[in-house]
């Protein structure tokens, strides 16, 4: 009998043959990986042939739902897109929130996996009648939001659409998949979809699934909803994630001009506090969310722009741009093209430094030049001019340009760094170095330790390693249940409370200890996938700039992250994870993964 909240099966679509089959997902497997990022990792192991190219037809692209999707639990309308990243060559899971999650699950599947490539631009339709392909020639070149609108007009009521923009169609290695104005943003999964000539996936609900204990779920939902209005989420409700900007600037954790500084003189103009005071602002919520972190500001020309911290960091301070209208325009352009703002901004900032050093011939590309950022984005989206190089991301671009530019190519495993300065957040430095997805702030929330007051954020040590493990474990569970991480502050005993939610939905008798084991299994499964696909010990490392150039914080203290210190923290992390000195697991850990 399938547990509550699950259908116990995945739909596996062969896009080349236009056929589909069902993959049973036994109860034990679901309990071991839950859903979302966890289940998606298992599916990649199972359905991806070893050594496959991320843009090859055989590459699986998995849309993975979770047991909590469709319940009244706040922030639970989320899904994970899981594939091998064309940017990193490693496992990538990108999460997003929208009605797509609910409708996708209610097609009657816990996951929809696409393999193979269509012969022409297509849209995949999945509903109660099964899966089928439809022509999408008329959608070519459209922004994802426009393609979504046209498809919904064409298909009629009840359909929900995830689509790619022009960047995904052209194989930009950090292209996104979008829906409801939200994005599965990191790692280039839009390029994976584009390589399959899939412009969109459309889903329509056709089935029902009930939780094991509806009353318990309802009571938990009421309780969680009430807590979601408390102080733990005030920042997100009142100003959104952009509230980070001024605070990060004050404590020298705001990466600026390609990580050449950690404070930005233009930060006050870009701050949420400033925008909220000077512009019209409306709040919006993802489906099934009571927090409502999304803030949409009025922009130049009567336009409106959704603003997040990472967008503003990457297209503002990282590129030296202080004009808020320019940053909002660049963010909007990324949405239209279907580009991950972090990787786009990071790659452009790297190119700006290359241009300043005379390593690339682009005299128009200078830090602080907002028009140059827009031109670079357009060229990336079109893969024209300099965009052909920059569409590859900083790692590949720096390998091609040479001249020592790899030293200031700010990526880990090929994924560009988010807006958290590792030298002044040294638990985060470790989290960025060892995480399976690469330099990522959502799979490793180790910055929580840096801001906890319990660790010296400027002097990483063994306590930081333990904290990085803990936050990574928490993320693994939240990304698999799935619950939004902006809710994390409301849980006082997170693993136990999450186990109670999961048990109410599924009928299992899970407890906090079991979920801790599950978290470790998921983290390990990601690492093992990467090992299978060519991960090397040196991939768990940070760019040279971060390990050789000190930073001064406002108090006058100098923050220095040395290779030796990072090595000690990594060794501590490996030991805590039960890995050997080169980051490889033992037999017992492998046996626990249920991969054979």
């Amino acid at each position: 009998m399938t547990a509550g909240g699950y259908f116990g099966r995945a739909l596996v679509v062969d896009a080349r043959a236009a056929t589909a089959s069902t993959l049973p997902l036994p109860d034990g497997l679901l309990r071991a990986y839950i859903g979302g990022a966890g289940l998606g990792t298992w599916l990649l192991h199972r359905l991806g042939p070893p050594g496959f190219h991320p843009l090859a037809p055989e590459a699986p692209l998995a849309f993975v739902f979770s047991p909590l999707v469709g319940t009244p639990l706040t922030t639970s309308a989320k899904f994970a897109v899981v594939a091998k990243s064309p940017l990193t060559g490693m496992l990538n899971d990108a999460l997003a929130s929208s009605h797509f999650a609910i409708s996708g699950k209610l097609t009657g599947h816990d996951a929809i996996v696409v393999r193979g490539a269509c012969s022409r631009p297509s849209v995949l339709l999945v509903d109660g009648a099964g899966a089928r392909l439809a022509d999408a020639a008329d959608l070519r070149g459209l922004p994802a939001a426009e393609a979504e609108r046209r498809l919904r007009d064409r298909l009629g009521g009840g359909w929900r659409v995830a689509a790619i923009g022009p960047a995904g169609e052209r194989g930009v290695r950090y292209a996104t998949i979008s829906h409801d104005g939200r994005h599965a943003g990191r790692g280039g999964l839009g390029a994976v979809m584009g390589a399959k000539r899939l412009k969109a996936v459309a889903v329509r609900a056709a089935a029902k699934v009930a939780p094991a204990d509806p009353q318990a779920v309802l009571a938990a939902a009421r309780d969680l909803r009430a807590r979601s209005f408390g102080p733990a989420t005030a920042k997100y409700r009142q100003l959104g994630t952009l509230a980070n900007l001024l605070a990060f600037n004050a404590i020298a954790t705001l990466p600026t001009r390609n990580f050449q500084a950690a404070t930005f003189s233009g930060a006050p103009q870009l701050a949420a506090e400033e925008l909220a005071e000077m512009r019209t602002v409306t709040r919006s919520s993802c489906a099934s969310c009571t927090i409502g972190c999304e803030h949409i500001y009025g922009a130049r020309g009567g336009r409106r722009a959704r603003v997040e911290y990472e967008n503003v960091f990457a297209l503002g301070p990282m590129c030296g741009v202080a004009d808020p209208d320019a940053v909002l325009a660049a963010s909007g352009r990324c949405d239209e093209l279907g580009l991950d703002t972090i990787s786009a901004g990071g790659t452009i900032a790297w190119a700006m430094e290359c241009a300043e050093r005379g390593l690339i011939d682009a005299p128009w590309l200078r830090f602080g030049d907002a028009d140059a950022v827009l031109r670079a984005l357009d060229e990336i989206g079109a893969r024209e001019g300099l965009g052909e190089l920059l569409a590859e991301g900083t790692r590949r671009a720096s390998e091609r340009v040479g001249g020592g530019s790899a030293a200031f190519a700010l990526h880990v495993k090929g994924l560009e760094l988010p807006g958290y300065e590792p030298r002044t957040m040294q638990a985060m430095a470790l989290g960025l170095a060892v995480n399976s997805r690469g330099a990522d702030h959502n799979r490793s929330g180790a910055y929580e330790a840096d801001l906890s007051g319990e660790h010296d954020r400027l002097a990483g040590g063994q306590g930081h390693a333990a904290a990085a493990v803990e936050t990574e474990d928490r993320a693994a569970v939240m990304d698999s249940l799935i619950l939004c991480k902006f809710l994390r502050g409301v849980f006082t005993e997170p693993f136990g409370e999450w186990a109670a939610l999961l048990s109410a939905v599924t009928g299992w008798d899970a407890d906090g200890a079991e979920l801790r084991r599950t978290a470790r299994r998921i983290v390990m499964a990601k690492r093992v996938f990467n090992l299978r696909e060519g991960w090397r010990p040196q991939d768990d490392w940070l760019p040279q700039r971060l390990l050789s150039e000190p930073l001064e914080v406002p108090s006058g203290r100098v923050a220095m992250l040395t290779p030796e210190r990072l090595r000690r923290m990594i060794d501590g992390y490996y030991a805590a994870r039960g890995l050997d000195g080169e980051g490889r697991p033992g037999r017992a850990a492998l046996d626990d993964l249920q991969l054979s």
């Binding site: 509230a243 404590i251 506090e273």
Partner: protein, 280 residues
């Protein structure tokens, strides 16, 4: 090895005060908590409190180490020997002070410690008319010499100074440090409280002038710096109407993050309050 440590000699008898000075309250904290906290803000190595055997101490932060002075009543050189020995393997130099310095400023400590970096074994301030051996910097390598002097019954700091290089830091020299001159122009750092009248005078002085900055939702429409008087982070939080704790942290001068309301503040400090959740 870390370069600097902090040592608070808390084992005196407080006979003139009539009550243990370590536990005396000053603007929301105890003198010992404040002194140890000020040292912690500067030292990049251990901070230890040397106490008399069995001496009760007020609450201290967990990172502060407590060392029992093996013999009571032998004076500061005995405490100095015990304190330096406790940190010698982890620091090259230590700022050593008594517990009763409510106006001790981090800038003063930094300036005095610099004497060690300039080659002296002891950085000895001479301020407000007196040498200040209990607000001075000592090379930790002096621990054996201090212990030997105690064993020989030579219990005055002057005997130690006779055996090492001493940089005497007069007031002009101290004020030559522009940061110290700006933040502690009268060198109140060396003002100690020995008698009830001293203590009452110290209590009558206001808490240090600091600047508060709130970010994000905490600003609540009050952007920009807020001048206030507060001797602790908790005092600053109260002045700003901020609920320091699970969801709010403080960053002192843009440096370390803390949820500890007892972290002491000094004149010129800026306290940032920000959301503990930095999700982006």
């Amino acid at each position: 090895m870390s370069s600097s440590a902090g040592i608070v000699l808390a084992g005196g008898r407080s006979s003139r005060m009539g009550t243990p000075k370590a536990a005396l309250e000053w603007h929301g904290s105890t003198l010992l908590r404040r002194t140890a906290g000020i040292l912690s803000r500067v030292a990049d190595g251990p901070v230890v409190v040397v106490r008399a055997p069995g001496q009760a101490l007020p609450e201290l932060p967990p990172q502060v180490e407590i060392v029992d002075d093996p013999r009571e009543g032998l004076g500061p050189v005995q405490g100095l020997a015990a304190g330096l020995a406790a940190v010698a393997s982890r620091a090259d130099i230590a700022f050593v002070c008594s517990t009763d310095l409510p106006f001790l400023h981090p800038a003063f400590i930094r300036r005095v410690l610099r004497a060690g970096a300039e080659g002296a074994d002891v950085g000895l301030p001479v301020a407000r008319g007196h040498p200040q051996p209990l607000a001075a910097a000592y090379a930790t390598a002096l621990a054996p010499a201090a212990a030997r002097l105690v064993a020989e019954g030579r219990l005055r700091p002057a005997f130690l100074f006779g055996e090492c290089t001493v940089a005497r830091l007069d007031e002009a020299t101290l004020r030559g440090d522009p940061v110290l001159a700006a933040l502690d122009p009268d060198l109140d750092s060396v003002l100690n409280v020995n008698e009830p009248a001293d203590y009452q005078a110290a209590r009558a002085r206001p808490a240090p002038e600091v600047t508060i900055q709130r970010f994000g939702a905490l600003a609540d429409g009050h952007r920009g710096p807020l001048p206030a008087r507060a001797a602790t982070v908790a005092g600053a939080a109260a002045a700003a109407g901020v609920d320091l704790g699970a969801h709010v942290v403080a960053a002192l001068n843009g440096d370390q993050i803390t949820r500890d309301g007892q972290v002491p503040l000094a004149a010129g400090d800026t306290v940032f309050f920000l959301a503990a959740d930095a999700g982006g």
